[in-house]
């Protein structure tokens, strides 16, 4: 909102910042494909050739694109399709069907979706809403009637391919692969998945029909390349309206990337993961701090962003607890130490807490049983503790076995940062006998 105000006061600079946000957000939110993909040229070529053969020669194919999350599988496919759409031969012929394993959770839904995307429902009127069996027979008939040279090729993109393998009998996959291996309408099946063991999920007859082509997207990115990528991702294109602003911005980005502290932050992220998505998340946080008052990204921004990226959500939750709840957590920690991770119940925790109170002989923490019970339930609601097994719901609440979902380091860290934490509490946390 400060940006909006600034825009009115200083129009040119406000305009520029607006543009920067627009361009970079498009880039980070995956709405815009990069002009060229780096590091995956071979895979790109393989896929282009494959799909082109389907579109142009009517050769049926099947392929899996495998890579960890955020490795750019979808980006690769989209950029290939973009390239192919520039070939008129392909553009006029290729029909596309996009399915997602998270949306089409069973074959019935998937079949309906396929029929819809192929615009086959026009041909049959209300038949689309026929039974599952009819839909399947209908689609198979449709595909069977086609042949290599005369019908339009169909591209099936199955996102989250591994989830399709969990469908009953793998009917859809069997039929798609069977069509791709028989003289019917030419189809290309492209599966996207992050599971390396995806082939083991396929039934043997489905597996036999799959062509066993896999395109692996495993980036062997080095740190300098990573930094270079950060720089390109943040840089503005040359066709930005204000030339001077671009030069200043790009120079600022270049110096940012050379900064020592920035490098440390980036290296930490690089060590953690090499994928695009986490990087974009980081850069997005930096970008949101850019305003007219501060039209550049500073190293401090990056540090802040990194900190909020890497923050431990559960430990943060501890900061909002009351002293009593914190006491209970500490008591649980000691129980965990004593019993080596065995589950505990409220009574045990209460006893442990009472031992601490006796040692301290301090009335300040004297609470009634119901109050403690309430605090205990609150912890359960926050899922800091969970019932050891769900079947024990029948037992009385005081005796229900629970487990602590926190690591000791998280508790200690939270205590350090807890505002005005009583000293005796801290002592008790470090040692059960303090």
């Amino acid at each position: 909102m400060s940006k909006r105000k600034a825009k009115e006061a200083h129009l040119p600079i406000g305009e520029c910042i607006d543009q920067v946000h627009l361009i970079l957000r498009k880039r980070f939110c995956h709405q815009q494909l990069p002009d060229k993909l780096e590091g995956v040229e071979a895979q790109h070529k393989h896929l282009v050739e494959l799909l082109k053969r389907t579109a142009v020669h009517g050769e049926s194919n099947s392929v899996l694109i495998v890579g960890p999350r955020g490795a750019g599988k979808t980006t690769l496919l989209r950029s290939v399709l973009r390239e192919l759409s520039e070939v008129t031969e392909v553009q006029k012929n290729l029909l596309q069907v996009h399915l997602n394993g998270l949306l089409q959770t069973d074959d019935r839904i998937a079949l309906k979706e396929i029929t819809r995307q192929l615009h086959l429902e026009n041909v049959v009127g209300d038949r689309v809403f026929g039974s599952f069996a009819e839909n399947l027979a209908f689609l198979l008939d449709a595909l069977k009637k086609g042949d290599r040279s005369s019908s339009r090729p169909v591209l099936f993109v199955l996102d989250e391919f591994d989830l399709f393998a969990h469908h009953k009998n793998q009917t859809l996959l069997y039929n798609l692969f069977d069509v791709s291996q028989s003289a019917q309408a030419p189809i290309a099946v492209v599966g996207l998945t992050c599971r390396l063991d995806v082939l083991e999920l396929l039934e043997k007859r489905v597996k036999s029909r799959f062509s066993h082509r896999q395109i692996h997207l495993l980036s062997s990115l080095t740190f300098p390349q990573y930094v270079a990528r950060v720089q390109t991702q943040l840089s503005l294109p040359d066709d930005f309206p204000d030339g001077k602003f671009v030069r200043e911005w790009n120079a600022a980005v270049a110096t940012l990337c050379e900064d020592k502290s920035v490098e440390d932050v980036l290296r930490r992220h690089f060590n953690s993961s090499k994928d695009f998505r986490s990087l974009h998340m980081l850069l997005m946080l930096c970008l949101s701090r850019v305003s007219v008052a501060k039209p550049v990204i500073t190293p401090a921004d990056l540090l802040d962003a990194s900190r909020s990226c890497l923050a431990d959500a559960q430990a943060n939750m501890l900061h909002g607890l009351s002293i009593l709840e914190l006491c209970l957590i500490i008591a649980m920690k000691h129980l965990n130490d004593v019993y080596e991770g065995e589950p505990f119940n409220l009574q045990m925790v209460h006893n442990e807490f009472k031992k601490f109170l006796q040692r301290k002989s301090n009335s300040m923490y004297n609470f009634e049983q119901p109050v403690i019970m309430k605090a205990f339930e609150h912890l359960q609601q926050l899922e800091l503790i969970q019932p050891a097994d769900s079947s024990s719901a029948k037992t009385q609440r005081e005796y229900q076995l629970m487990r602590l979902m926190l690591d000791h380091s998280q508790i200690m860290e939270a205590l350090q940062k807890y505002p005005q934490c009583p000293t005796d509490l801290k002592q008790w946390a470090t040692s059960a006998f303090a």
Partner: protein
């Protein structure tokens, strides 16, 4: 069994009157009419020539037919009737209905001019008489009314609709359920039987039984032609006969009564003795008539007047399917003289309509020629020596004679023809036997043309949608590698299936023998995927269908279902029914219909070959689907051959309960995985002289695949990939050489190497450290499982060793989940947080190897 599904009144069937004739050869008593009675059912009588409803699979639409002949076998147990079938709209494959070019009238039926069905039925299946009216092709239909008369406009020969010649169906005037008198001249003959003629003359209130009889006999001829193999040829044939009889009729008018009876009696005996042995049981009635055929042919053109005049006689004719030749020389003149009376009376009426018939005739002649040549082939095949020389000639001579007939109707020409016919008849009869011809006729009648009809058009049920056509044509393969790739695609149908000759032979002879014997049976085929099971069966079916088309074996229906291509095991019934009859029904209803179809001694009998692919998917808890599939073939009238395919060799023992496994029987076949030599041969035969691979490269691929799975699909896919690699590796795609070892090696690596090691190598530092921590923790615990919390301690320690900032819990969890998503680690559900247990999905050695090499 037959009356499963409907509560029905018990009917009684009794002959009315004495037997009118006795066929000594067949030992059948012939009757004039049949009384159908029973409580709650009005007494009705059915006599020859009358239209009747015959009980079929569909109770709302029983079959329609016309009685040709009623007879009883000697023992008096079996009352039977021969009929001429009509088909209802619902029986015509919907795809073919389009040929009609209009909406069919709900009460429209078609004169069935195909030959593929048995025209002998038990009288018990007769429901009641029905009224059938003939309409001109362009006449409008009366408004549909329920239970009203049925209308015939066209003749359906399982391929096309032709306007029905009224002479085929001489029952145009709306008439009470009594006889519709068919004139029974075959299609081309309608020059002689004008359309206009029918109505006036046939408005008889109650026809004399003699008339009915006559009608029936005329009709018989019809049915014969309809059912005959060389239908057009046949009609050409009868045409000549017509002309003959016509010419004769001008001169001779005689009393036929005595002559005919005498002839029948004396003819029957000799021919019968000759025919008997050659004819399979069940076909006897047909054979009986060979000698009588000429009479029938001549009679078929008979007019009403003649019918009225003619004395009652036994229509011993019935259903010899293709009476192409008569064997009795002596009878030729006699029979023609018999018909001559009617001829004379008819002549004046017949001639005017001749021009009308001219146009269709020419087209029929062409097909007649075609068929005559086919018959000649058949003759050769069937090894009928006696008639070999005479038959082709006969055909040849008939065809020109028909031409002559077309051009003019002068009696002199017709007389010439007659001479020829008679001579032919004599020569053939002097050759010694009627049996060869009858046998030949029969077989020819049943086989050809059926397969295409049933297999093709029957399947599509509704307007099947299709993928739209390409806007631009496909490119042809431009170079050798592309050509090779096309040929190597699994979908390309090879010219032959190498390396499966033995299996092919076994399946072929199994199915062939079942078809020839008209029995049923089951076969179980197993083998790992990609060993050519389905392909071999399809190949067998292709060959058998060719054989059927060439009349070497009786025609059969081929139906294929795939357990994977249905959503539920019970859908199998629906699909089978749909592919057999084109009907749509729910699973339960379909099961009932199929049950009935396979268990009743029904009409239209031909062997059905059912291929059930992926049998194991048809498993249900009670196994009733599999039970039925294997039980039907054991039924007496089913004539069903079931071929089942599945992957596991011991499927019957493993998943089938005893009664199912027992019915499946022991006819098993197992397809072994291909050996490397076979794989090599497969590739070579597919490439078919396209030189794209080095020998060594091929051998490497086939050895590698044979060692792993023996899956031909895999082998072909690898070869295909190798051609791509070869093409890419060459600087200039057109100049790419042969696919060599290097390319094949690369393809093999791509397809067989596991990606785990690469994935670990490419993982981020923290991910690698986490894997290392997992292994360290496993070693510490001595277990292959640890909680995240335990691993995290190790991980943080390792971070310190490596000089990295220790990870926080949530960061560590993120790393862990990323590895879990790739399935390098196996994780418990993530809601367990730090307590979730971790296992490795790769061997520890692999992880260490990948990390060490780093």
């Amino acid at each position: 069994m037959k009356y499963l599904t409907r509560l029905r009144v018990r009917r009684t069937y009794e002959w009315r009157g004495e037997a009118v004739g006795f066929n000594r050869k067949l030992k059948t008593l012939e009757f004039r009419s049949l009384a159908i009675g029973g409580e709650g059912v009005p007494q009705t009588a059915v006599s020859s020539g009358q239209h009747i409803l015959i009980e079929g699979e569909d109770h709302d639409n029983p079959f329609v037919a016309r009685v040709e002949r009623l007879f009883e076998d000697e023992s008096g147990r079996q009352k039977k009737a021969t009929v001429q079938w009509f088909v209802r709209v619902s029986e015509v494959p919907p795809s073919k209905l389009k040929l009609l070019g209009r909406e069919p009238h709900p009460q429209e039926i078609f004169f069935y001019d195909g030959r593929s069905c048995d025209d002998e039925v038990d009288v018990e299946s007769i429901l009641r008489p029905v009224e059938v009216r003939h309409l001109d092709a362009d006449a409008p239909f009366p408004a549909p009314e329920d239970g009203g008369p049925l209308y015939v406009k066209f003749c359906w020969d399982s391929r096309t609709f032709r306007p029905l010649d009224p002479s085929l169906f001489e029952s145009a005037p709306p008439r009470p359920p009594q006889p519709s008198l068919p004139l029974g001249a075959p299609g081309p003959a309608h020059a002689a039987t004008p359309t206009s003629r029918g109505p006036g003359r046939r408005a008889l209130p109650t026809p004399d039984p003699a008339v009915l009889r006559r009608a029936a006999s005329g009709d018989v001829h019809l049915s014969r032609t309809a059912a005959s193999a060389g239908k057009p040829a046949e009609s050409a044939h009868s045409l000549t006969k017509l002309s003959v009889s016509k010419s004769l009729s001008a001169r001779r008018t005689g009393t036929q009564l005595g002559v005919r009876k005498k002839l029948q009696l004396c003819d029957a005996a000799p021919t019968g003795s000759q025919d008997g042995p050659n004819v399979p049981s069940g076909a006897e009635p047909m054979v009986a008539l060979t000698d009588d055929v000429l009479d029938q042919l001549l009679e078929s053109t008979g007019s009403l007047a003649r019918r009225l005049a003619s004395p009652p006689r036994t229509a011993s004719l019935a259903h010899s399917l293709t009476p192409l030749r008569r064997t009795d020389g002596g009878r030729g003149p006699g029979s023609s003289s018999r018909t001559s009376t009617s001829r004379a009376q008819e002549a004046s009426q017949d001639s005017p309509t001749d021009p009308v018939g001219a146009a269709p005739r020419s087209s029929k002649r062409r097909s007649a020629l075609k068929v005559s040549s086919r018959i000649r082939q058949q003759l050769n095949l069937l090894d009928v020596r006696e008639d070999l020389s005479s038959d082709p000639d006969e055909e040849d001579e008939f065809v020109p004679s028909k031409k002559e007939l077309q051009s003019s109707e002068e009696e002199e020409e017709e007389e010439d023809d007659e001479g020829v016919v008679v001579k032919k008849n004599r020569s053939s009869s002097s050759a010694g036997s009627g049996s060869p011809s009858s046998k030949r006729n029969r077989s020819s009648a049943r086989t050809p043309r059926k397969t295409p009809r049933k297999v093709g058009p029957r399947t599509p049920r509704h307007a099947t949608p299709s993928i739209p056509n390409r806007a631009q044509p496909t490119r042809r393969p431009a170079n050798v590698l592309e050509e090779a790739r096309t040929r190597l695609h699994v979908s390309s149908v090879p010219e032959s299936l190498p390396c499966r000759e033995q299996e092919f032979q076994d399946i072929y002879s199994f199915v062939e023998s079942k078809i020839l014997d008209g029995t049923g049976g089951c076969m179980y085929i197993s083998g790992v995927p990609g060993t050519g099971k389905t392909a071999t069966v399809h190949e067998v079916m292709r060959c058998l269908q060719h054989a059927a088309a060439a009349d070497e074996i009786p025609a059969f229906l081929f139906v294929e279902i795939n357990g994977m291509k249905m959503t539920d095991p019970h859908q199998a019934y629906v699909q089978i029914l749909q592919k057999l009859t084109g009907q749509k029904a729910t699973a339960d209803h379909a099961a009932a219909l199929l049950e009935k179809r396979f268990s009743s001694p029904a009409l239209r009998k031909e062997t059905t070959v059912l291929l059930v692919d992926e049998l194991d998917l048809l498993w249900t808890r009670k196994q009733n689907v599999m039970y039925n599939l294997f039980d039907w073939p054991t039924r007496r009238h089913a004539r069903l051959v079931v071929l089942t395919i599945a992957n596991t060799m011991d499927l019957p023992e493993r998943i089938m309960i005893n009664r199912v496994a027992s019915r499946l029987g022991l006819t098993r076949m197992s397809f072994q995985p291909y050996t490397f030599k076979q794989l090599q041969q497969i590739i070579t035969s597919r490439l078919n002289k396209v030189k794209a691979f080095e020998e060594d490269a091929l051998q490497l691929v086939s050895r590698k695949v044979a060692a792993l799975s023996g899956d031909a699909r895999r082998c072909l896919d690898i070869c295909r990939r190798a051609t791509e690699i070869c093409e890419h590796s060459a600087a200039d795609p057109s100049a790419a050489g042969l696919v060599g070892m290097v390319h094949v090696m690369e393809a093999l690596n791509e397809m067989f190497s596991s990606a785990y090691i690469t994935a670990i190598k490419c993982a981020s530092t923290q991910e690698q450290l986490f894997l290392r921590a997992v292994i360290a923790e496993f070693r510490r615990l001595g277990l292959e499982e640890a909680t995240f919390q335990q691993v995290l301690v190790q991980h943080q320690a390792l971070c310190r060793v490596e000089g990295l900032q220790p990870v926080s819990v949530s960061e560590g969890l993120a790393v862990c989940r990323r590895l879990g998503a790739c399935r390098l680690l196996l994780l418990e559900p993530s809601r367990l947080g730090v307590l979730q247990r971790i296992r490795l999905n790769v061997s520890q050695d692999d992880v260490l190897f990948a990390l060490k090499a780093d």
